[in-house]
Amino acid sequence: MPRIVIDVERCKGCGLCTQVCPKGDLVQMSDEFNSKGYRPSKFVDPEKKCIGCAFCANMCPDVAITVYR
């Protein structure tokens, strides 16, 4: 089952990963802060729609996303 893992401590909350998912809004901004004071993004895929295309990861300037398939 394709999935992504977001390293929330690496994430700077820029949101670039949230706009490129071909499956809609699998990557969303969270409301929590990380220890650096950023709001990281989160992976929300209850329906297992992720295809592991890595668009989100490719877009991340901080290489905070790992993609598994």
Partner: protein, 260 residues
């Protein structure tokens, strides 16, 4: 369980990218370009023969992120430094990573002459239309009308002149072999960017002359935008002035690409 066993990592940090947090602002594409360069270095297996040269600009600390031998140049002089290195060690892959201020303002002379000499060097040129590092002054590539801290009422071409188009300029020089403009505002552009950087390195390794990949980039911080707004602004404003595409692909490069 059987499924978990087969799970493979399909995207992760490239080997040639140091496992550290960068100092870049959230959403700054410097980070993406760094990663893409590292991927190319991994793909070509050249980590041990590559020397990078960092500019003065936001990417001054690039040497902390890309895991090859690295030097930090004086502002604008990366290509002179690279020339000195490459002439002594033609077997190395030498690349410079430079911003618009570094490459196209103070470093224009070094650019023009490294290109016309046909140095076998690759430049990754980050055009974000602003001086990021020093806090958002006009760059040579700042668009007409664009507000910066040194063009507070917008760049007035009467007083501050016109933006420089680096690819168009450098293409006129015979020593330049592969001069292209890419961007990184979405995954498909990033894919094209990666292909271009790979070609540029291959051009260098084949000794075909000077190669330059311009990346139309962003600076959310000094543009005064959110990262997502900045990508929109990039597409709506920068691309018209800086059209993506191939500006010079020497025949020898075409042959090389056909072979690979």
């Amino acid at each position: 369980m059987s499924e978990a066993k087969e799970e493979k990592i399909v995207f992760q940090r490239p080997k040639a990218l140091c496992d550290v947090v960068t100092h870049y602002c959230p959403g700054c594409l410097h980070g993406v370009v760094h990663r893409v360069i590292a991927e190319v270095i991994d793909d070509l297996g050249i980590q041990e023969i590559t020397v990078g040269i960092a500019p003065v600009g936001c990417s001054v600390l690039a040497y902390n992120y890309i895991a090859t031998d690295f030097a930090e140049a004086a502002h604008g002089r990366a290509l002179a430094m690279a020339t000195g290195m490459k002439r002594v060690h033609p077997e190395l892959v030498v690349f410079t990573y430079q911003g618009d201020g570094d490459l196209a303002a103070i470093g224009t002379n070094e650019l023009i002459h490294a290109a016309t000499r046909g140095e076998n060097i690759t430049t990754i040129f980050i055009n974000n239309a602003i001086y990021g590092m020093t806090g958002g002054q006009m760059a040579p590539t700042t668009l007409p009308g664009q507000v910066t801290t040194s063009t507070p009422t917008g760049r007035d071409t009467k007083l501050a002149g016109f933006p420089i188009r680096v690819c168009e300029l450098v293409s006129t020089l015979e020593g330049s072999a592969y001069i292209v403009r890419r961007s990184a505002y979405n995954p498909s552009e990033i894919r094209k960017l990666k292909a271009a950087i790979k070609t540029a390195f291959q051009v260098q390794m084949a000794g075909l002359g000077y190669s330059l990949v311009e990346v139309v980039s962003n600076c959310p911080t000094n543009w005064g935008m959110t990262p997502l707004e900045s990508l929109k602004w990039l597409q709506e404003n920068m691309l018209a002035y800086y059209p993506l595409g191939d500006y010079k692909v020497k025949d020898s490069v075409k042959e090389l690409m056909a072979k690979k």
